[in-house]
């Protein structure tokens, strides 16, 4: 029974329907697996009692013939989603004791669909980072090579999927935070169109960029999860009022006549690892063999996407984090002597170094006299990048790139140069500022056995293409199995 965690989503769903095993047994298998892989530190808060309650409820529903689309499926939730009555920390000391009295819209929908909550997964503090190395809750290991990073900021969800301690996972993608860890951990990660999934109840990092997104072992799984997550929410004024289509409708359709765009500038300038260049080439070949045409396209402003992103994201983050002041909830420093003292000590003790760095950058770019030069300009550059993508999508159906410039790198090298770290996002960030959608699909392994991901980019509201084209990559690629049998390195 403990091997139940190895079943795919299809197999698990079928097994539950056929009553080959119960939801409780399936969930217990995952709870055991969470224990066995504890050293990977994928989870901040395990919720075994809640998980078993959810599973029992699912068993009842299945028995009544009222199973939802995700009934009984064990799920890891990034600890940036507020889950009612369950500790939600955003991996920050400043929220070390925060128990939300409300449920985020996306988690509510997903639980309504029948998913089972296994626990709150680790992340970079306040979703800021690409390594999941928060000071407060510790680094998450990559199950493929535990000396390496799982990526970030949704490293916990990705790691849990890769080590078999979750079957589905919820992450958030602001500059690549779902796609990059998915690529590093050999799983699928999707950044839907901005506004596709509600941000209500998601701890805010950069309001105009944050996008809740699904992670899963397989492309179709991620489509099913997105189906449950998506939809207009009147409580979120940036929520899309577009109807939610059937995301899987295009899967398996022919590639004949389809056009795959390759951005010239990235090809030339992105300074990619040779192994990533090979991967990219193999990806192009694979689509050509399937009948699609490769077209070189131009995204001239993409050079500016990274600085544009960091200016906008840091400004919005600095603003969104003003509320953490020790007055209403969360950490309040002790031995305080005045109001100013409380602010300084609480925020000084409560925030980790990367968060402080981004608050400082954000405050600077918004400051009087600098607004136009930085924030104002970044907004205009953002429009240009969006314009670039609109032009490109008049020529091609999807754009193909590697997800990351390198495979997962050692945890030790993470904190050396923070600005150099930002380079990790060079291929994912244009998608966020460009207001388009994207998926990362496992497409190969490095010599060292680390997984590599290819990224597909589609126009806004065309997530169906991500799954359609992503499925082709998946079915044309032989990946080694996920590292379920590799032992976790003891701490």
């Amino acid at each position: 029974m403990t091997e139940l965690f190895k079943l795919s989503l299809d197999q698990a769903t079928t097994g539950l329907r056929n009553r080959d095993f119960s939801a409780r047994e399936l969930t217990q298998s995952y709870l055991d697996r969470m224990e066995a892989t504890r050293a990977h530190n994928a989870y901040i808060t395990a919720t075994p009692e809640r998980a078993l309650r959810d599973a029992d409820r699912s068993d009842e529903k299945i028995a009544q013939g009222m199973a939802g689309p995700l009934e009984g499926i064990p799920l890891a939730v990034k600890d940036a989603y507020c889950t009612k009555d369950i500790l939600t920390t955003a991996a920050s000391k400043i929220l070390h004791n925060f128990i939300p009295p409300y449920e985020s819209t996306v988690t509510e929908k997903v639980f309504e669909a029948g998913a089972v909550l296994l626990g709150k997964a680790n992340l970079d503090e306040f979703c800021m980072g690409s390594t999941t190395t928060p000071v407060h809750t510790g680094a998450t290991q990559n199950p493929w090579d535990t000396s390496c990073t799982a990526g970030g900021s949704s490293g916990g969800p990705a790691s849990a999927l890769a080590n078999g301690s979750a079957l589905l996972a919820l992450g958030t993608d602001t500059g690549g935070s779902v796609r990059q860890p998915a690529a590093f951990c050999g799983v699928v990660g999707v950044k839907p169109s901005y506004g596709r999934c509600s941000r209500w109840g998601v701890v805010a990092y950069a309001s105009s960029l944050d996008t809740p997104g699904p992670l899963a072992r397989r492309v179709k799984d991620s489509a099913l999860l997105l189906q449950a997550m998506a939809g207009y929410d009147p409580k979120d004024a940036t929520s899309l009022q577009e109807p939610v289509p059937d995301f899987t409708q295009g899967i398996g359709q022919s590639m004949a006549g389809k056009k795959i765009g390759i951005p010239k500038e990235w090809y030339d300038k992105a300074q990619l690892d040779p192994v990533m260049m090979d991967l990219w080439k193999r990806g192009q070949d694979l689509f050509q063999e399937a009948g699609a045409e490769i077209v070189y396209v131009s995204l001239p402003y993409s050079d500016y996407a990274l600085p544009c992103y960091y200016i906008l994201a840091c400004a919005e983050a600095a603003s969104n984090l003003q509320r953490y002041d020790g007055v209403k909830y969360g950490l309040r420093a002790e031995n305080i002597e005045s109001l100013e003292d409380m602010y300084f000590k609480t925020r000084g003790q409560g925030f980790g170094p990367e968060v402080k760095r981004r608050i400082l950058i954000g405050t600077y770019v918004l400051s009087h006299g600098y607004y136009e030069a930085y924030y104002g300009k970044a907004q205009r550059v953002r429009s240009m990048i969006q314009h670039d993508f609109r032009q490109v999508f008049q020529q091609v159906d999807v754009v193909l790139t590697p997800t990351t410039p390198t495979p997962a790198f050692p945890l030790g090298s993470a904190a050396k140069d923070p600005v150099a770290m930002y380079w990790n996002d060079v291929l994912t960030v244009p998608v966020n500022v460009g207001n388009v959608c994207a998926i990362s699909v496992p497409a190969g392994v490095s010599e060292g056995g680390l997984p590599l991901g290819l990224q597909l980019i589609a126009p806004p509201m065309r997530e169906d293409r991500l799954f359609q084209f992503g499925h082709l990559i998946e079915s044309s690629t032989t990946m080694p199995p996920l590292p379920f049998s590799l032992a976790a390195t003891p701490e």
């Binding site: 209500w200 940036t238 400004a315 918004l366 607004y371």
Partner: protein, 504 residues
Amino acid sequence: MPMTIDVSPSCNAFETVIGLEIHAQIVSESKLFSGAPSQVFGRDPNSCVSFLDMAMPGMLPTLNQACVDQAIRLGLAISGTIGLVSIMDRKHYFYPDNPAGYQISQYQSPVVQDGVLQIQGKDKAWKTVRIQRIHIEQDAGKSMHDQDPKKSYVDFNRAGVGLMEIVSHPDLSSPEEVIDYVKRLRCLMRYLGVCHGDMEKGQLRVDANVSVRRPGGALGTRVELKNMNSLRFLQSALYYEIDRQIGEISQGGVIAQETRSYDIASGKTRPMRVKEIDYDYFYFPDPDLRPLVVTEAHVRTLAEALPETPWAKHKRFVQVYGLSEYDADLLIEDMEVAGYFEQVVASLSDPVWSKLAANWILGEYFATLNRTHESFSVTRIKAEHLAQLVAAVADKKVSNLMAKEVFGVMFETGQDPEGIIQQRGLSQVSDQEQVQAWICSVLDREGENVAAYLSGKDKLFAFFVGQVMKESKGKANPQFIQELLAESLRGLKEKAESVEKSLA
């Protein structure tokens, strides 16, 4: 004779320049961005607070369009330009009663710009005050520092309530003008139903920017005055501050640019705790909200449904009902009273009696309310009933004195005047015969006094009038008494004279 030059600080040597920033709480069911109720005065602390009002993680604002409409309506009423696209900006600062660490406000593109308000200055001269802008923003919570020696408390009820910030150009030049401006603006807002304007409940807050200068000279340094929560305190604070500034400058001193608050006990303004003057608020458009777009059609719909303004009503009262400016001023102050007056007039068969109706409302009715410390309510005395009373007085069916008694009963019981008059037999008697009978009865009884009157004691006339009134138990029409009594006494005089003649 040596010439004396007056060097005392006198208002004639200086001009006062005042601009006002008024924060008006928007009348709406819920707050500007959250669904919590917005009428929070007197409620238990932290009982009208949503998760958004506490700025909890992940919470998002959604704009309450009704609040925007209120600001647009006020903008239309002051002939302002309505911004069809306006942006909500975040204004950042740290303070415990500002839960998100930023206030959602409007910086560069407010919903209304360039309006005007006509006020009456000195000598009732009309003056145009230009209103620079009206924007909408969130109110902050309330900090309480006086509950405990070592702790401060915060009540978030008020956090997130919608405010209109109304900024005037510095066109006001005296405390009187300021008071008139505030009163008229408040009256307008009450008419429109956009703000209740009770300063003591914090529904209307006035901050004044005050400076003085020599005529023709450069603008002086501005001082901001805050925390004056009544018109009386506002006026006192302005007087004090103007005097202070003039005094300071006359002695060669310099005015510091600062914020001062009014201290009720001393009647003086004092500098508030120092806060940076050019504080950087890091304004930027709120990324959680889309730009606020209103269509011309929507604005037109709002415009068409606007009620009559107080001044249009005033004009009508003077021109159509022939009321004096003064009476019209008083009647229009409260929209309910004005409406009531019109209903009373509508029930009168002769519109000529409108002035009488006005007198009854402004006189007896208001005086009664004052005495009983009650506030005006249209249901207390039905408009038709008051109209009946007015008609009865105009028709001389009751004397003024009797009418007041009737009014008192109407006020107490809500009964109709006809009923009361009949029940108590208060009809004024204008029956000549009856009055004459009373007069004769009195004159017969008062033989000695009549003789005294006839020999020259004219003052006894009033005495006789009183006696007739008494005899009639107050019912006789006094005018009749006067006329008939005068005739009767004349008759008696002639008789007496002719008797004398015949005896002579």
